[in-house]
Symmetry: C2
Subunit: 273 residues, 2 copies
């Protein structure tokens, strides 16, 4: 996917909403368990109810792998459904992969070619030759962990490496990698005050921002410190939307939550052109 398509979606929908499809059979409404593929049935209903205000969908692969081959089939059906019905919506395989060169190429092939996602999340610990194989794919994006929203982010990411924190070293170093214009970054909303400094290092790259809402991040701060002239943000909500209700009205409840977030986003996106 071309980055312009994403920007057009953002302008059209006045939204930077990414819906996380972290689908858990213990949390989906009971009546769906009678379906042949309850995970896909749930995802389809959520997509149908929220796509008008959503610019990206992000299944986290852990939730699918936990169900083995059946889970992988549900993931495949979900991405096929998105590509067939909503080709302009950006898709993210939240997989946090990374390995030595030829092995990372395999992961890239898995998510970009076999499954057909527009992007995949990666972990930077193994450095340049673990990420560049992903960046070699034209029309695809690689979303690298920088500063995550969990407590463990303080164990290593915020430790000082020389004068600056590790996550800043990761951001700075990655700019020199081949095809780095295909990089996006994960930056948690729980650390929105860090965004001003992050934008000094990567002024234009898109940021995937988890942690608004349930984890305590402020959407206003994310826009204030992180927005660019093409928005430059994808703000993720997973459980807050998809589990808004555990009853038969789950899709309507998800739509209402998604629309509520979209209205908050629209206030900040009005000036885009």
């Amino acid at each position: 996917m071309d980055a312009n398509i994403l920007f057009e979606q953002i302008k059209k929908k006045q939204s930077v909403l990414c819906v996380g499809l972290d689908t858990d059979l213990e949390k989906v409404p009971q009546h769906l368990l009678l379906e042949e593929d309850p995970i896909f049935a749930f995802n389809k209903a959520i997509i149908d109810a929220t796509h008008h205000v959503t610019v990206a969908y992000k299944p986290n692969t852990a939730f699918y792998e936990a169900y083995g081959i059946k889970g992988w089939q549900s993931l495949k059906k979900t991405i096929n459904y998105l590509n067939d019905n909503h080709p302009d919506i950006f898709t993210i395989a939240d997989a946090k992969r990374g390995d030595i060169g030829n092995t990372s190429s395999r992961y890239a092939k898995a998510f970009f070619e076999d499954l057909g996602f527009d992007s995949v999340t990666t972990a930077p610990y193994m450095g340049k030759d673990s990420i560049e194989p992903f960046l070699a794919f034209e029309g695809k994006f690689t979303i690298m962990l920088a500063l995550t929203s969990n407590p463990g982010a303080f164990d290593f990411q915020t430790q000082k490496v020389g004068a600056a924190e590790l996550y800043k070293k990761v951001l700075e170093t990655s700019k020199s990698w081949e095809n780095s214009e295909r990089l996006m970054y994960v930056v948690g909303a729980t650390k929105a005050e860090y965004l001003a400094e992050i934008r000094q290092i990567i002024p234009k790259a898109f940021l995937l921002v988890p942690g608004v809402g349930a984890q305590g991040g402020s959407m206003d701060d994310v826009f204030k410190y992180g927005a660019t002239e093409t928005a430059g943000l994808l703000i993720n909500s997973s459980r807050g939307i998809i589990y808004a209700s555990a009853e038969k009205d789950f899709a309507e409840a998800a739509a209402a939550e998604a629309e509520k977030l979209q209205r908050q986003m629209a206030v900040h996106l009005k000036q885009l052109n």
Copy 2:
């Protein structure tokens, strides 16, 4: 699996050999492509030919995911074959996973419960709450990346964080995590001279060591600086063994390479009791 079973295997086979099952349909012998499941047929032949000198098998998940659902099925068949026929051989899902807490639990469930591996590799970038969910599984091991064998290891892992390098900070910090006795670590053989210092931080933990042979690491140095009184090492070879021949004699050739490595290992393991 109990760590004693692994130690018994090491003593019995006079080997710390881990065979990496990085199975690639472009590299397996042509005649296997006629099989219903060529990946599993290849793995089964390699296991049958090498298990007498092997204490661990390590499929890298990237090679299976690249073939989508079919690949996942081949992985499942491979681990089932190992658990059914060689329950005393240690199994490693080389997956390099890691995510926020409840999501890491899902990955742990996928590899430990659904697939039935004894261990899984993880990446440390997201810190404590991304690894502890793996460590919660009794009788299972978590093998965390510390110092990898690829060039990108120098991008971040060897950068100084305060007085010591990041990988040392990772090792030191991880010792305080709950159930840290279930941790093993990846340390590349290409950096064997680092092993003496690593053993000062983690004197007893098992190390999974890639990079001997093809990547230039010295087995003698790995034993010299890294061995403990229970060996404390799993030395991996992937391509050097499984692609020793691309002809019909591939399994015999793999056996010969595995036996050659085992004989080198036996010299260093004689004194174990």
